[in-house]
């Protein structure tokens, strides 16, 4: 890692490390018979530190790679592991959407917390501890806000007459027989996203990904279930999840195509520089017409001194 982050080295941000690994592999310096991974060396930490500080990592390495990091390096390669975007919320966990009175109007009574949410405090990166902040801090803030909200709104609001229809239609769709299998489409979607929305992106690669996504959506329209049981039907759950994944994949590809700069984990080979002048803003994607809007970045802190955003150097 000296070549990529001379000071922070292996402790540089995950995006920096992921790019470094991807480059090493792409330039033919990977390890193993297929040269498709690099090795993470931990043995210099000593058995005591590894056992105390990294017991989970050690267990995974032994179980899945057959390697004890106390003695030998762990094979590693970049992969998708966390959804960095999500349902936009404010710092109370309230879901916000552009509406009559501004770009971030809370949706009454609707909250999102954790990996499904995007409080927009992490920018375009996933670093160690992000998910803890999302859960522990904003989970608590949302809980507190709900308590207050319920004091003022103790009764459920009447539902619109046809409120359940969209959900019922989603379920009913899977009663229709079809020749395509959900598991096959899910596998192809996974491989497509790994290839087209991975560590390095270009306009052409992302567009080709969108073409393939359209084909997958056509196949999804012809998919059907073999299992029509009403008891613990995991095949149906996986079908509904595939529909959700297709939606998330589309949001990811369209947003990545739209953002013509590199920032955080989003690296455009055709736009390698970070561009604060045009892109210091959050992406707001709506499914209707694949619309991409911007959400302002809040630079004014509430209780602590402001830190000006700047290029990261490790």
């Amino acid at each position: 890692m000296e070549r990529y982050a001379p000071h922070a080295k292996d402790l540089a941000g995950r995006d920096v490390v992921a790019r470094a690994i991807a480059l090493e592999i792409a330039e033919g310096r990977g390890c193993g018979p297929r040269g498709d991974y690099v090795e993470l060396k931990l043995d210099h930490l000593g058995e005591k530190t590894i056992a105390e500080k990294l017991p989970g990592i050690r267990e995974l390495a032994i179980r899945f790679a057959g390697v004890d990091p106390v003695k030998a390096p762990i094979p590693v390669a970049p992969t998708a592991h966390y959804m960095m975007g999500g349902i936009p919320t404010n710092l109370h966990g309230q879901v916000v959407a552009p509406a009559r009175f501004g770009p971030e109007e809370p949706v009454p009574g609707l909250y999102a917390v954790g990996e499904c949410a995007c409080v927009s405090v992490h920018g375009a990166n996933r670093l160690g501890g992000n998910s803890l902040l999302d859960l522990v801090v904003f989970g608590r803030a949302a809980g507190r806000h709900m308590q207050e909200y319920l004091l003022d709104n103790p009764y459920p609001r009447p539902l619109p007459e046809h409120a359940a229809e969209a959900s019922q239609a989603r379920l009913a769709r899977w009663d229709r027989p079809g020749s395509e299998r959900v598991a096959a489409i899910t596998g192809d979607l996974r491989r497509m996203m790994q290839t087209h929305a991975g560590v390095f992106r270009t306009d052409a690669v992302l567009r080709a990904g969108l073409d393939k996504l359209n084909q997958l959506e056509d196949r999804l329209a012809h998919a059907g279930l073999q299992d029509t049981s009403r008891v613990f039907n995991t095949a149906r759950i996986e079908a509904l999840e595939l529909e959700n994944l297709i939606g998330v994949a589309r949001a990811t590809l369209v947003s990545a195509l739209n953002r013509t700069e590199s920032r955080g984990a989003h690296t455009r080979e055709d736009f390698p520089a970070r561009d604060d002048e045009h892109w210091l803003k959050h992406t707001l994607y709506s499914r209707e017409g694949d619309q991409v809007d911007a959400k302002p970045v809040r630079l004014k802190p509430l209780t602590v001194e402001s830190i000006r955003p700047k290029e990261r150097v490790y």
């Binding site: 989970g56 267990e59 995974l60 179980r63 899945f64 299998r181 959900v182 598991a183 096959a184 279930l225 073999q226 299992d227 049981s229 009403r230 008891v231 613990f232 039907n233 995991t234 095949a235």
Partner: protein
């Protein structure tokens, strides 16, 4: 070809549960049992099982494999004798195929109040703990609630309504041992009962079954000695 025998039960069919013989063209090298079960499911969507993280962290794919409770995702296929017999966890009602109703397990877990109880005013910073006090939680906090231990315990099979079971008791110990928790006396009162704690006969199936290498029997022993100590 790898040979499997899978427990199948479909409540809507009106038929009795049965064992289904399945053959798979699969190279076991480097693969886990979960990979095989998912390969079966890719052919036959009606096979139902729980699974999520596929790395031994979430605890949802616990099943009985060749007579032993294990997590499918961290059980190497190459270690298993064929035909590999996969059944739902024993001692709990089967909902469908490999899926059991875990409510009796969770009910016992809830009964030990698995959260930190401390009524002191909230401090400005975190409630701190010395490294030595923190070390007391090693071997207890790692439980992932997969239910492998509790459903391998004959005492739990016999008294699921009244015996807390190894997983619940290990978690009871986790909070009794926590220097930040102030409810030790109430927690011990809650367990001082011929059934809730003392149905444990030291059979140690739980230790054998735990996929995380934990020792509920030892934790139960520590709770018992605390109960003896406060009497004398």
């Amino acid at each position: 070809m790898m040979k499997f025998r899978l427990y199948r039960y479909h409540p809507e069919s009106g038929e009795q549960p049965f064992m289904q013989d399945v053959e798979l063209d699969l190279d076991p090298a480097g693969k886990m049992l979960l990979d095989a079960l998912l390969a079966v499911k890719a052919q036959d969507e009606t096979l139902s099982l729980r699974r999520s993280c596929r790395e031994g962290v979430c605890g949802s794919d616990a099943v009985n494999v060749n007579g032993k409770n294990r997590l499918a995702c961290i059980t190497p296929l190459s270690e298993l004798k064929q035909p590999i017999e996969v059944r739902p966890l024993p001692g709990l009602p089967v909902i469908r195929d490999l899926i059991v109703d875990l409510e009796p397990f969770y009910k016992q877990y809830r009964s030990i109040k698995p959260w930190l109880i401390n009524d002191d005013p909230e401090p400005e910073v975190e409630r701190l703990q010395s490294p030595a006090d923190r070390a007391l939680l090693d071997g207890a906090y790692e439980c992932i609630l997969c239910a492998c231990c509790t459903t391998s315990c004959p005492s739990f099979w016999w008294n699921p309504e009244t015996f807390v079971g190894p997983a619940g008791l290990l978690q009871a110990w986790r909070f009794i041992a926590d220097s930040r928790d102030e409810a030790t006396a109430a927690r011990l009162d809650n367990l001082e009962d011929p059934y809730r704690l003392y149905r444990c006969r030291g059979i140690m199936n739980c230790v054998d079954a735990c996929p995380k290498g934990l020792n509920p029997t030892a934790a139960i022993g520590r709770i018992k000695s605390l109960l003896v100590k406060r009497r004398v």
